[in-house]
Each structure stands twice: as C-alpha cells, then as structure tokens.
C-alpha cells in the first residue's frame, strides 16, 4: 500500500512536467533506497514531518530573527553584555557541574557499595530533591538565609557567632547562593546515573585488580572510577544542560545568566536583543550536546561483561559516623530543610486562608495547561516512535532529532520563538492558554517519546509480521497490536509530561494570557514580593505532584 502511494505522490508531483520515465524510475529507486525498500504510508509520514516542524520552528525562528537584529545591536551586545553573561553562565555551569559530580558520585558510592545503615531507604531519600524544582528550593533558602531570614535572626542572637565572625554576612543573592541552591537540587541527576553504573559494575574487574596486588584505594582510582567515567560524564552533562537552561532559581536569586537576561530583555520588549542572546545560548547548548554524543559513543565501549556478579559491599568501620553524618547533612539541606520550610509557611498560609478560590483557580489553570499538554504529547509521540521503530531511515532520524530541539534548549528560547510566531502569524491562538500548553508540548514531547519507545522496543517487528500473516492489513495492525502495547508506555510518558508542565516556569511566565496564572507563576511572583505564606502552599502542591512519578524515574536510570 505504502509503495503505491509513494508512486502516486511522485506522479502527482510531476503533473504537467515532462519527466522521462527513466528519471521517474530513478527518483522512485532513490526513495525506496532511503527507506531500505520499506517506505511508510504517506499519511503517517506527513503527520510525523508536521510534528517535527512544529517542534523546531520556534527555535529556527529565533535564530532567524537574531540574524536580523542589526549590526549595531550585535556590536553593543557583543561589546558589553555577552562577555559578562558568558562569564556568569559558564562559571556557574562549571561550578555546579563539578560540585554535583562530587556529591552525586560520593553519595552513589556510599549507598551502593558500603554497609551504611538503611541502604535501601537512603537510595530513595537521596533522589527526592529531583522532585523539588530549584526555584522552589531557592525560595526556601531565601526564607532561611535571606536578609531577614531565620538564619540571620539566629546569628544575631548568638553572641559568639557575632563576636567571632562579625555581623551576619551570608548573602543568598549571590553567585554562591545560586551555586549552592542549584547544586542541592540537581545532584540527583549524577547520583542516579552513577548509582546505576555502580550497580551494574561487575565484581570480576575488582577481583582481577585485587589479585594483581592492588590496594582498595588503588582499585577505586584505577578500576572503579574509569569504569564510571561515562556515567559521570552523562550525569554531568545533564546537570550542565540544566544549569544552562534554568531560569527560575537564577531569577529568584537575582543572578543573571543568559536565560535570565533573555527573559528580562523580552519583559522590556527588546525582543531583538533577546534573540541575539538566545543565539549565543543555543550555541552553548549545542556544544554541550555535542560533548554528550561523544560520551555516549564511549559508553558502548565499556559494556562488555557476560557473567555478572554483584559488587562487594565494603565495610565502613570507624568511618561510619562521619559517612552517616555526611549523607544526613546532604539529605537535611536538600530535602528536610526545604520541605519543612514549605510545610511551616503553608500552615501559616492556610490558617490565613491562602487556600481560597483564587488559589484553586491557579491550581485549575496549572491542571488545564498541563493535562492538555500531556494529551497532545501522547498523541504526537505515537506516530513518531512508530516511524522511528519500524521505518528507520535518514528521514525518520531527522524527524526524531527535530522533536528533541525544544527539549534540549532552554525554555526561554522556546517561549521567545512562540512569541514571534503567534503574535505575528497566528494571532488567534496568541493570548489563549493553548499557546502555553503548546510550549509545554515543544519542551517535553521527548519525555513521552522516550517512555513510549521503551515499550515499543519490547515489541519485535516479528509481531507486526505475525499479525500481517494472520490477515490484518498494516493500519489494522497498528490499531490492534501496536497501539495497545505502546499505550502503557505512552501514558506514563504523558504523566511525566504532566509533572514537568506543572513545574514549568519561564515559558509560562512569558506566554500566559491575562488572568491565567499557574501555581508555578504564583510561587515566582509571591516569592519575589516576599509573600511567603502565599508562595508556600503552591510550592508544596507542586512538590507533592512531582513525587508521583519518582518511582518511574528511579527505574529509568
């Protein structure tokens, strides 16, 4: 059926032109060659291509606009802003990446390889910061360490601190404040990937090293660490992409990196400058993605073992108290303290009537935009995964790559592209909540795709053939066999999209129509005005919703 359609397509394209049959045959052969003689149906292909276009156009548009920003603007920005922003952004990214690697790897090592009491529970507890959006974390740390925070009061009332160190001098609105908050709430990326790699690490390698006369520490540096290197690289890259794209925590702590600068330029309606800065940020992101693809290639090289044996558990001995203290401290700083602060202020807020109609209105807005986005993502993900799994070719991998564009790039850039496109070309949707939901789709579609792909990859192409040989034409195979099997994965992917959308801040801020504030937006604004009793309940609700798919995330790594 597919081939026939394609031939028809070719015929239609050439109506009125006098192409020789040989040329026609040449095109047809080329086309079949691209698809390895197995082209997909036209409808499916067109649908997939259109989705890919929707996913990438906003970004292409930003690049396009930045090229027409004018030489003067470029020169001014290059001269004044860009060097400073580059320094701010890169130093923060490097510092956070380094510290998350140190914390993530050490925690993974302790939890997986040592006899720390309560191993199984720690494994869970230490992943929880993943569910706390960094901007929420930032708010809690402002409450604790801010200029009029609890820590200052404590300091002021503690004589010896004042005597030894002088007046309270912690400034949370600083590089170190941003650095600390981002570290605390992004280390789980490294921790989870490093744990997975440690769990898979075959004991045989270590025993081979011990039998060569290596000491325990030599084994760590010469065997374990090199084996973990790809995992550390992958985790580090995730963190650096996150820092590069984060807007919420950075803006809340009044630091300025590219994302915040782009946002504020846009807020001041200097969209041309915003697009210039975006181009630089896109460039930075692409460099990191390129590094990522390199580490992934290396990763394959390390996976060689057939006879797997579980790694040895090391005894902590006299180090036990120190290690327990370290792990507890991280847990306290990244989970216990922020959650306690949120609960404390939520209680105050609720007693002051924070859970009023307005609050539920915001919650409903979050729910509306996020579930609409989840629904569209599930719908869009299915044809793309199906194409990718069953019709591998240059064209499908192109479609697949385009779909990842919005996922890899910071949210402010996606939002900027949307502003350009919808205000100029699609005014009907501009100023409706659909534009917010669509931005979520562009940002999070790959989450639905990954989950769906995982379940489709379990379904061998032989299953399709079995159904064909049992009398089902291709479209019916898709409906009766592929869809039911893909659905659980796609649905859980939809759940992930939903949670990510609930947390999303920059695109919502930039695109929300009048009267459409979401929970995330409220957290941001109330915190900026230091109205913590209104910020906390919304933030707490976001955290609670985010905990739902934690189990799935733990499985994924």
């Amino acid at each position: 059926m597919g081939i026939k359609n394609i031939i028809q397509l070719n015929n239609n394209a050439k109506v009125g032109e006098r192409f020789s049959p040989t040329l026609l045959r040449f095109f047809r052969r080329k086309w079949l060659h691209v698809w390895k003689k197995n082209p997909p149906g036209t409808g499916l292909l067109v649908f997939g291509l259109s989705i890919a276009m929707i996913m990438s156009i906003p970004i292409v548009y930003v690049v396009w606009r930045s090229l027409f920003a004018g030489t003067n603007r470029w020169l001014r920005l290059l001269d004044q802003r860009i060097p400073e922003l580059l320094w701010n952004t890169l130093s923060l990214t490097a510092a956070v990446t380094t510290s998350t690697i140190i914390i993530g790897v050490s925690l993974a090592w302790i939890v997986i390889r040592t006899d720390i009491p309560g191993k199984k529970i720690w494994r869970w507890l230490l992943a929880i910061p993943l569910t706390i959006p960094p901007y929420v974390g930032a708010v809690t740390y402002i409450i604790v360490f801010g200029r009029s925070g609890w820590a200052r009061d404590l300091w002021r009332d503690t004589a010896w601190l004042v005597n030894v160190f002088g007046d309270y001098s912690i400034n949370i609105y600083s590089f170190w404040g941003v650095f600390f908050v981002l570290t605390m709430f992004t280390y789980p990326y490294v921790y989870l990937i490093a744990s997975a790699s440690l769990r898979k690490m075959n004991r045989n390698y270590e025993e081979a090293a011990y039998s060569q006369g290596f000491s325990a520490s030599e084994v760590f540096w010469k065997v374990n660490l090199p084996l973990m290197r790809p995992a550390i690289g992958a985790g580090g890259i995730l963190v650096s992409l996150y820092v590069l794209g984060d807007f919420g925590a950075i803006a809340t702590l009044r630091y300025v990196t590219f994302t915040a600068a782009i946002y504020f330029q846009r807020a001041a309606f200097d969209t041309a400058s915003a697009s210039v800065l975006s181009l630089v940020l896109i460039f930075l992101t692409i460099i990191i993605l390129w590094m990522e693809s390199k580490t992934r290639k290396k990763n394959k090289y390390y996976q060689t073992s057939n006879t797997y044996r579980e790694p040895l558990t090391l005894e902590l001995g006299k180090w036990k108290p120190i290690v327990v203290f370290y792990v507890s401290l991280i847990f306290f700083l990244s989970v216990l303290l922020p959650i306690s602060v949120l609960v404390y202020w939520s209680k105050i807020g609720i007693s002051m009537g924070a859970l009023d109609g307005r609050f539920f209105g915001f919650a409903l807005n979050s729910l509306k935009a996020s579930s609409f986005a989840a629904l569209i993502c599930m719908l869009f993900a299915m044809p793309i995964i199906y194409l990718k799994a069953r019709y591998p070719s240059i064209i499908t991998s192109f479609i697949d790559k385009l779909s990842y564009a919005g996922y890899a790039l910071p949210g402010v850039i996606v939002a900027l592209g949307f502003v350009f496109i919808f205000n100029n070309h699609l005014p009907i949707l501009y100023g409706t909540f659909y534009i917010v939901a669509l931005a979520f789709v562009v940002r999070f579609l790959p989450q639905a795709m990954q989950a769906g792909e995982a379940s489709l990859s379990l379904l061998s192409p032989r299953i399709d053939e079995a159904a064909r040989s049992l009398g089902y034409p291709p479209w019916k195979v898709m409906l009766k066999v592929i869809l039911p099997n893909m659905l659980p994965g796609v649905l859980s992917g939809g759940a992930l999209v939903f949670v990510s959308s609930i947390k999303e801040l920059p695109a919502t801020l930039m695109l929300r129509p009048p009267g459409f504030d979401t929970l995330a937006v409220r957290v941001y604004f109330e915190a900026a005005e230091a109205v913590y009793h209104l910020a906390a309940p919304a933030a707490l609700l976001i955290v609670i919703v985010s905990i739902l798919p934690l189990q799935y995330m733990l499985k994924k790594y």
Binding site: R81, E84, L85, R147, S148, R254, V256, A261, F264, Q265, A267, A268, F269, G357, L364, L367, K368, S371, F372, A374, L375, N423, P427, Y430, G431, S455, L487, P488, G489, L491, S492, G494, A495, F498, R512, P513, P514, G515, F516, F525, E529, V531, L548, P549, Q551, Y552, K555
Partner: protein, 364 residues
C-alpha cells in the same frame, strides 16, 4: 514493570478525568464564586494589563468583579510596550500604570481611546488627557527615604542636584537607586530633561550610577534595604516611605521632599492612572470600569495598600495611624512646573538616554 506502568497509566487517566470534570464544573461554579446573581456569561469579561504592583491592584479588581459581576482577567507586571506589540491583535481593554508618562506615550502612539466617562470632571485637567483617553487617580513625589539610625535630617541632601557631588558615595553604607528601566526612574529623568536639558541630565545619571552603593530592581527593595540599615538613604517615591512606616520592624525611617527651597525646581511628581485601550475586546466593559473607578469610594480603593496620595485628597483615603501623621498633602508641596501629562512626550527618548548614560535598564 508492566504493573508499575499500569499504575502510572491509571494516575494519568485520573488526572485527565479530573481535568474534564474541572473544566466543566468551572462554568457551573462561577456564579457562586462571584457571590452575586449575575453570572459571568451575562456580564462578560474585562482584560486589564497593569504595570503597578499586583498587591495594590488585585484588591481593586476583585472589588470591581464583585460589584459588577464582570470577570476580570488581569496581567500584572505588564510593560506598556506590550500594548504597542499587540496593536494588530489587541488583547487588553484597560491599561493601569504608575507612570503617567507611559500612558501618555501610548496615547501618542494612537493606542488609547478617548471617551467622556461620567465623573471625569473630578480629575483636575492637568492630570488627564485632553480627550480623557487616560487620567490619573493618585500622585506620588520623588524623594529620599533615609534611616534615622545612620543619618540625621540635617546631614541629608535636600536637592536632587546634590547627587552630582561624589561625596555622597562616602556616607556610611551609601545610597541606593533603582535600575534605569524602573517606571519611577524613567519619569524622574524625563522631568529632569524638561528642567535641565539632556546634557546635564546625562551627567547626573552618570554621577548616580558611579556613586550609588546599590542598584535595585524596584523601590520596594530599596525601602527594605534602607529600613534594615543596609544603606543610609535611597531615591524612591514617597509612598514607599509610608509603606516602610507600617513594617513591624526596621521602621525608623524618614523622608525628604526634594528641592522645596527658595528658587529650587520643586519636587518631581508623577501619577498613577488608567487608560482605555483602543479596539479592546470588551469595549463596553472598559467604559463601565472607567465610570466605576471614578466613583469617590473607588478612587480611594485605587490607592489601597499602596499608601499613595489621592489627587482628590478630599475623598479621604484612609491611612494607618503611623502614616497618617506623616502625610503631606500634594497641594502643600512645591511641585516642579512640568505638567505631568507632558511626560509621555519624553518616554521613548528617556529610556535611550538612560541607557546611553551608562545606567542599565535591567539588572545584570
């Protein structure tokens, strides 16, 4: 694993079901929420873009919804340029601003709609456009908030020209200003350009940028910082002084109204008001809003928590006791002679001038 996915799938379905119910119940529940007989569907909507602090405006809008049954869709922290950007696709009905210059600018660009609402005559002619496309309700004056623990009234500078003097950088903890893009700052610079011309104004901006100990996002940050003793004084609007007075702590502050002396220019004033956007989607409700706002009780409500001064002070805005004694009526001040509605003519150029003088519009 299969079952885990199933559980997630069920959660997902649940969420979708809730959304469906939520969406449908929203329309049903709306009349109850309004608390009056009129349902949203009948009274319709009003889209308000506001550049003022949300806390001051939301209560006013809620009051409006409650009394008229019109649902207000509000966008707080809006930039006047958004109205300009959306001119081919108008979304807003009303623009509320704390800088009359911004309203004047929008009017100049032909984006506001003249009208003749009932009660407009209560606003002095100086505080409204000729065709009443925009008008002011409350006024504010520029001046210094200072921390009495750090500096005395005698030591304080009394004129805006004093800031040319680099010595003010030496005062303990220094002084604070806002970023260049702040609406109050833009209005102030426009007034100085009217008074001094561009060259002297440029020098002044360069001087304060060099000498200020802190540059902040907004005036709220400055009043808190001065109140906490982080800076000796800061350049703000007078009502931020009023707001700091009602803080439970760090409230030992006072205020200098600038250039009140013989031969001096007088205090730079600005005003907050509303404009009717041309071609807005709910033009009728926009007109209703203007007439509603002009009712004396609602002019008072416009001031609300901001603790600004009413232009019609006779309507009796209510201030907390701590503030009441410190209120100086607008009519008792020596005010710079630039008509406030002139500000709009300076709006666009002023921003460029500020940036060229080295003061960034946004914090970096």
């Amino acid at each position: 694993m299969f079952t885990k996915k199933k559980i997630l799938a069920f959660i997902m379905m649940g969420i979708l079901a809730i959304t469906a119910i939520g969406c449908s119940s929203q329309t049903v529940a709306a009349p109850d929420e309004e608390g009056v007989g009129t349902s949203v569907e009948e009274a319709g909507q009003l889209v308000v873009y506001s550049a003022r602090n949300e806390r001051f405006v939301q209560a006013l809008l809620d009051k409006f919804s409650e009394e008229t049954g019109i649902e207000v869709l509000s966008l707080h922290g809006a930039n006047p340029l958004q109205i300009l950007e959306e001119k081919n696709n108008v979304r807003a009905d009303i623009f509320i601003s704390n800088d009359l210059g911004a309203l004047g600018y929008l009017h100049m660009e032909g984006l506001l709609q003249g009208s003749n609402p009932e009660g407009i005559e209560t606003i002095p002619v100086d505080f409204r456009a000729d065709d009443n496309a925009y008008f002011a309700i409350s006024a504010r004056s520029r001046g210094f908030i200072y921390n009495k623990d750090l500096i005395t009234e005698e030591e304080m500078p009394k004129s805006i020209e004093d800031l040319f003097d680099a010595n003010w950088a030496e005062v303990e903890n220094g002084y604070a200003i806002t970023r260049g893009g702040n609406g109050g700052m833009i209005g102030h610079v426009s007034a100085l350009r009217y008074q001094w011309g561009d060259e002297k104004t440029t020098d002044w901006i360069t001087a304060i940028k060099e000498n200020a100990a802190g540059i902040y996002e907004g005036h709220g940050d400055i009043r808190r910082a001065v109140g906490a003793g982080e800076h000796a004084f800061g350049l703000v609007n007078n009502y931020y002084f009023h707001q700091q007075l009602v803080e439970p702590q760090n409230n030992n502050v006072a205020f200098i109204y600038l250039d009140q002396g013989e031969g001096q220019m007088g205090v730079v004033a600005n005003a907050a008001g509303v404009g009717l956007v041309k071609g807005g989607p709910n033009a009728d409700n926009g007109a209703i809003f203007l007439e509603w706002l002009l009712l004396p009780e609602n002019q008072v409500a416009f001031v609300g928590e901001s603790l600004e001064q009413l232009i019609n002070s006779q309507y009796g805005a209510v201030y907390p006791a701590e503030v009441e004694s410190k209120i100086i009526n607008f009519s008792d001040l020596k005010v710079q002679d630039m008509p406030i509605k002139e500000l709009g003519n300076y709006f666009e150029d002023t921003k460029a001038l500020i940036e060229d003088s080295g003061l960034d519009l946004d914090l970096k």
